[in-house]
């Protein structure tokens, strides 16, 4: 996360504490991103071993979440942050919750990859899933970039694009229903693919949340639960 456009704090230690938090959030974002990437890869390439690895690596993200949470609590208790500093701390606390949930979804992808790798695969399912996955990965990348560079325009763009992920998800859902109606034997597998799609769609939602936090952090305006038209006005 870039330091805000302001100068440094008079207290060097405070400056350092905030910098530490920022760099940890970025590290956590990087970890989450690689987990999602690996989970997707395991899924589309039927790589059970990779899936297993993803499913068991989530603890790293969780540990970071606890560490950052702790550091934020300390800053609030000891430094009483105000204005942009306060917004940074509040945003960080919320962001890491969403990042941790994305990590959980990635873990889910890993587990499902292990199960799906063990069964026959119908290529049709996975092209769609891959497509959805690409969208979600782009959203995650965009959200993390916006967070790192405090880029409000990018954050708004990514938040808006969450609709596309939702549409993609709906399309996949319809396709799965068709499969299931055509051949009831495909129901167990279709359901598993559906869980995957659901996990990806949730990741998209978390990315949108992070983007909204970025707007709040930079502009001090809360754009949650407002129509995008209003959000544009907030800029």
């Amino acid at each position: 996360m870039a330091t805000s456009k302001l100068g440094e704090h008079t207290s060097q230690q405070y400056e350092q504490e905030l910098t530490n938090i920022r760099s940890k959030v970025i590290r956590m974002g990087g970890l989450v991103e690689s987990q999602v990437e690996a989970g997707l890869k395991a899924l589309v390439s039927s790589d059970g071993a990779l899936g297993e690895e993803v499913a068991t690596s989530d603890y790293k993200i969780n540990t970071l979440e606890v560490e950052i949470d702790d550091a934020c609590t300390r800053i609030i208790a000891l430094r009483q942050p105000a204005a942009s500093d306060l917004r940074v701390v509040v945003t960080v606390i919320k962001t890491i919750t969403d990042l941790e949930r994305i990590g959980d979804e990635a873990e889910k992808l890993g587990r499902l990859a292990v199960e799906l790798a063990a069964v026959d695969r119908e290529p049709g399912y996975f092209t769609q899933l891959k497509h959805l996955g690409e969208h979600v990965r782009a959203a995650l990348r965009g959200a993390l970039d916006a967070l790192t560079r405090l880029d409000v325009d990018l954050a708004m763009k990514v938040a808006l694009e969450d609709k596309m992920v939702d549409q993609e998800f709906d399309a996949l859902m319809r396709q799965l229903i068709t499969y299931m109606m055509e051949d009831p034997r495909s129901i167990p597998r279709s359901l598993q693919v559906m869980w995957c799609a659901r996990a990806l769609e949730r990741i998209g939602d978390h990315c949108k949340n992070i983007c909204e936090y970025v707007v709040y952090m930079v502009k001090g305006k809360d754009i949650r639960h407002t129509s995008m038209k209003n959000s544009e006005a907030a800029k």
Partner: protein
């Protein structure tokens, strides 16, 4: 009348007119003032100031400050040392008159009447606009007489009973009654620092002012005494209008509804306290409240 210029007169000795010397000129820095950010007007103003300039001799301490102080609101003045916030509130009850070299120009009105008009009785003004100082400064008298003093001078009580009533209710409102009711004859100076400050507040409210000015009222107090005073400020707000100068940003955030940020004699920003502390509009305000200078 001549003898008692002001009920706060004994106070003048331990105030620091030296502060005026510390005021820096704007030429010292690259700060360029482009007008106050935020809404200077209050919905229901009790005091109105417009284009106030203050000079200490040659040196200008306040530049063109315009600000309303709303009825029943607590407005906090914050800013680095020498930014003119104390100078500004001391204009509001003409406390600066006591500094020979001090010149005030511009408009300052209380309930729509200029307080610098020729006919203004300064003693009367200071009864209506009371002041509490940084260091508790009880008179060298008993607790009772500290509070009764101003009431007697201003002839606010017609008999002993009434006087006693005012003293007791003032002490109660200042949250001090329970602690001093058994030692009203003890010298005011025998109380603890926090109690002395509350005694000073009781003394101020005894003369039934409309506005109370507080110049860093808690800077000499411990956290518990501070919390009591802050609690008291909140209660007093129902009946009075309060302007408080404080170096504690948290205090400003806790007690005030509006916050004004001063910088090198300029009023840089004024706004709702919650907005100023979460999303200030001016970069200097942001720098100051986040501890980037000052």
């Amino acid at each position: 009348m001549q003898k008692s210029v002001s009920i706060e007169q004994p106070v003048m000795d331990n105030m620091q007119p030296a502060k005026s010397i510390m005021v820096q000129s704007s030429k010292d820095t690259d700060f360029e003032f482009t007008g106050t950010v935020g809404n200077i007007a209050a919905a229901n103003p009790r005091m109105v100031t417009r284009n106030v300039d203050v000079f200490y001799g040659e040196k200008q301490a306040i530049f063109d400050v315009s600000l309303d102080i709303g009825t029943n609101e607590v407005i906090a003045m914050i800013g680095p040392s020498g930014c003119g916030k104390s100078t500004f509130i001391r204009c509001l009850n003409r406390m600066n008159d006591t500094i020979e070299s001090c010149k005030v120009s511009g408009e300052i009105r209380l309930d729509d009447k200029s307080i610098y008009r020729k006919k203004q009785d300064v003693v009367q003004l200071r009864a209506r606009v009371g002041m509490v100082f940084q260091k508790p400064n009880p008179f060298p008298k008993s607790v009772y007489d500290n509070v009764a003093y101003g009431v007697r001078i201003h002839g606010l009580a017609s008999n002993k009973m009434e006087l006693e009533e005012i003293v007791v209710s003032s002490l109660r409102r200042a949250g001090l009654w329970d602690e001093v009711k058994d030692r009203l004859d003890a010298p005011g100076t025998s109380l603890s620092g926090g109690q002395q400050q509350r005694l000073c507040i009781a003394r101020t409210i005894a003369v039934n002012p409309e506005v109370i000015l507080m110049d860093e009222p808690c800077s000499a107090l411990d956290p518990i005494a501070t919390a009591r005073i802050e609690e008291l400020i909140d209660e007093l707000r129902e009946n009075y209008t309060i302007a408080i100068v404080t170096h504690s940003m948290q205090q400003a955030a806790r007690v005030s509804q509006r916050t004004a940020y001063f910088h090198l004699g300029y009023l840089v920003e004024v706004g709702e306290t919650s907005q100023v502390f979460t999303n200030p509009a001016h970069k200097l305000t942001e720098d100051y409240i986040t501890g980037r200078f000052g």
